[in-house]
Amino acid sequence: MVAQAEDVIPQRSPLMAFMARWLLTTNHKEIGTLYLWLSFTLFFIAGAMAMVIRLELFQPGIQFAEPLFYNQMVTMHGLLMVFGVVMPGFVGLANWQIPLMIGAPDMALPRLNNFSFWILPFAFTLLLSSLFMDGGAPNFGWTFYAPLSTTYGPPSTDYFILGVHMMGISSVLGAINVIVTIFNLRTPGMTLMKMPLFVWTWLITAFLLIMVMPVLAGVVTMMLTDRHFDTSFFSAAGGGDPLMFQHVFWFFGHPEVYILILPGFGIASQIIPTFARKRLFGYHSMVFATAAIAILSFIVWGHHMFAVGMPVWVELSFMYATMLIAVPTGVKVFNWVATMWRGSMTFETPMLFALGFVILFTIGGFSGLMLALVPADFQYHDTFFVVAHFHYVLYPGAIFGTMAAVYYWIPKWTGNMYDERLGKIHFWTAVIAVNLTFFPMHFTGLAGMPRRIVDYSLQFADFNMVSSVGAALLGMTQVLFLYIVIKTIRGGEKASTRVWEGADGLEWTVPSPAPHHTFETPPAFPPIMDENESTSLNE
């Protein structure tokens, strides 16, 4: 049968075969790889935009970017980093790891999986093409507040709307796939409360995605009809309300920021026990804390708009609900610390990134608490303090989390160990550069430097120069990361099955590199880990 089938397949040129392999693949590992490369590519494009922004802000005055172009850079940088880098990066990790971690042969809906991915390159081509259009790309910030995006948006706003719709469809389909996989394809014996935490955080993230991405789709549809079909959802002239845009947007937007961080929590919860050689402290409380954060995320959107003029009792409700989120988040941080307590810790690159994640994310969490305070927020609103806050939770949070995951699992994906020396250099330069770039923004923000403006007053010059130097360094370290990844794919010390001495879980029972098809029959759970099998680099 097999031989016959092979005879029928017509001979393809190598290029066609390559195209067909990647365009038509339904394999979760290949689709995961595609997602990760897309994310990595857009990371450099959006990063280049950040370089333009920092270059312009290196000195006061207008040197390199016209104000309109600067606004386009700020907008596209935000949109691409959120929708093109962090989200596809996490989906790529989910595709690779969830089936391996729950003992499933593949995702539950493999063809849908292929479709979810292949929407994205088209969505981002649409979005990026707007840079070359008359009137320029969207320039109203990634939050696209009405009426900036409706009455005053450039013509290319419609490309942006279509792009957002496509990304939304992709995310919702991807999330459905994740949930169906987790609910139906776990290996016998793996109950929900025995799932690895990465799987748990992704399950909760997937629910958030299904609940809020359609709201985003609704908002952009209202924008589209306001722009072209004479509706007045956000136009006061027709009885609508521009302020309502902010409410509906942030109803999506706040759960969205947890979509960007929860998988990172899961990654830290996988890596820290491995390198502390202890079981995760407080597994149950971790699961409940994640769920609590997700539920609370739906009732705190107002803290993004304290300055719009809400009554005091509404502001107070949002403020208390927001501060409540610090409790489950604190539970998580304490659990990670308790996991390390008296552990036999070693500091390979994934562990370093995970520790950088915990420490720097916590700093971002604290500045978030400051922003949650209504009276203080009136000072911080729309200043660089906010920029500092969300870059601290997103860069050392989401991005470091993704990088930690790549270092942690790349031996399993490629069969090769990465270069530990280069990995450590990457971590230390990145952690220095991140702080150099974003820490001074706290000071400029507190001193009143507004965000999203091309120019600034002279007294902010020194701190901005420091930020720009840090940003240049940060950009260069990511080129090093690209080099490390390519070097690992091309060769290196062979990785063993278990890879890390303290690693635990089903993904460490398949050979390295993971074969094309794994777990065609459900594996035994809990897995029997081979005690002698590891290539931990510190041995």
């Binding site: 539950a108 809906l109 919702v172 999330a175 459905i176 949930i179 169906v180 609910f183 139906n184 299904i210 609940m211 809020v212 991405m213 359609p214 709201v215 985003l216 789709a217 609704g218 908002v219 209202m222 004479d230 959802f233 136009s235 006061a236 002239a237 027709g238 009885g239 309300d241 302020l243 309502m244 409410h247 509906v248 109803f251 999506f252 003029g309 809400m310 009554p311 509404v314």
Partner: protein, 190 residues
């Protein structure tokens, strides 16, 4: 195996309905938001036309001794070619007493323009105590080229107005109604 597949299909259907439902919810937020703002007076939205005056005069003390100040503001939105200002900027009124004032509007454009005034009250939670009996903002106003008009506003302030409020500001922003839409718009507004 068949059992799993059934479950899988059930999950897919449930999750897709959840996604579709949330898309609908985004649209449901629009009326919810309007209702919420009108009920609570958030955002300074005033409720629609007040009840028939005769019933009010029968059922309550006509005017109390308490006096408050009400200030009037008039703004025109971008692209609206009208001159628009209140006849008086400030009135001292007794609670429960019916007051009349007017706003002056003149079309400075060379063609007919339709306008819609959108009210807002500050402080926002005082909005529910401001009862408008007659207001030019209840309907769209059309002025021919160069035409002007004194547009009446009749209102009273409920005598249950909280003690701590001494001054209210009633602000109108006048928007240009696009000519295409003028005929199709429902003119039932506050």
């Amino acid at each position: 195996m068949i059992e799993t597949h059934n479950n899988q299909r059930k999950h897919i259907v449930l999750l897709i309905s959840l996604a579709v439902g949330m898309f609908g919810f985004a649209y449901a937020l629009v009326p919810l938001y309007q209702v919420f703002c009108e009920v609570t007076g958030l955002n300074g939205k005033t409720s629609g036309r007040a009840r028939d005056l005769s019933t009010i005069y029968q059922n309550q003390v006509i005017a109390s001794d308490r006096e408050v100040t009400i200030q009037f503001l008039a703004n025109v939105n971008n692209g609206m070619p009208w001159e628009f200002r209140p006849a008086t900027h400030q009135l001292r009124v007794r609670l429960g007493e019916l007051n009349t004032t007017d706003f002056y509007a003149r079309n400075r454009a060379a063609q007919a323009v339709t306008g819609q005034a959108v009210p807002s009250v500050s402080p926002g939670f005082a909005a529910e105590y401001l009862h408008k009996v007659e207001c030019f903002c209840f309907s769209q106003q059309q002025l021919e080229a160069g035409e002007d008009r004194h547009m009446p506003l009749r209102f009273y302030i409920g005598d249950d107005l909280p003690e701590e409020i001494h001054t209210l500001t009633l602000s109108y922003t006048l928007f240009k109604v696009p000519t295409v839409r003028a005929s199709t718009l429902v003119s039932n507004r506050s």
